[in-house]
Symmetry: C2
Subunit: 146 residues, 2 copies
């Protein structure tokens, strides 16, 4: 996808298209910002979830991340292989794994957060603080968040 130019005019008037275009652009910027760290958005999301709630099972991660179970296996394999996360045995149920971040994983997450914040600041620069807040409220309402 090319995001160097704003969308052409007939499309830029359609609200649905605008929502979709900005969304894909944002996802693309985010992925680009993460790339130098060797991470893709799914990795960042999973790392964030594990950090917020250590010991989560893969099933719980799937439920919270919108990543399907098949892909989750691959993401965790990569995180584990790189020493960022580890699957520990889950007490009382040998089918499950308890996911934890390693020390290296927490450091990597901190770096990734910096990149995410800095790209967000840059991306939303066209809007002032009040406009950003208004946008947030509208999108929350559109998304159906209380």
């Amino acid at each position: 996808m090319r995001f160097d130019k704003p969308p052409p005019e007939p499309l830029a008037s359609a609200l649905g298209f605008l929502v979709s275009w900005n969304g894909q652009r944002m996802a693309h910027l985010f992925a680009t910002a993460l790339e130098p760290l060797g991470l893709r958005p799914p990795h960042f999301g999973v790392m964030t979830l594990i950090d917020a709630d250590p010991g989560l099972t893969q099933q719980e991660l799937v439920g919270r991340s919108m990543i399907d179970a098949s892909s989750m296996v691959a993401v965790l394999d990569e995180l584990e292989q790189r020493g960022i996360a580890e699957r520990r045995p889950y007490p009382d149920d040998r089918r499950k794994h308890a996911l934890h971040l390693t020390r290296r994983g927490k450091a990597a997450l901190a770096k990734a957060r910096e990149a995410a914040i800095s790209v967000a600041i840059e991306a939303f620069e066209p809007l002032d603080a009040a406009e950003q807040e208004k946008l947030r409220l509208l999108l929350r309402k559109l998304a159906g968040v209380g």
Copy 2:
């Protein structure tokens, strides 16, 4: 991706995530609405462009649609095979093709437009007219449109 539930709370507060989530949801809803017609979003986009400006070359379509040249070949192959569009010889340059919609193509586009409009109305139902307009303005500004 699962869009049946609103995004989980730690994420729903991040503006970048909200933009991205709503965008992907919108794209997904749109694709689903188009599916019964045997069309995918790229087909609809290309059909719309050809209809608005008959005789466009593939290069011009690529420039206006954010679809890359490789994929454009496949999209046009499918549209042509289904009798929706046709590649006619381009006057003065035998490398180029002039794209046109067939009568059947125009009918298919009309149907697709109905589906698109109806899904848009449904998707933006949580927002009243004034809110939708405010959202449109904010997103245009964010996208860098005039």
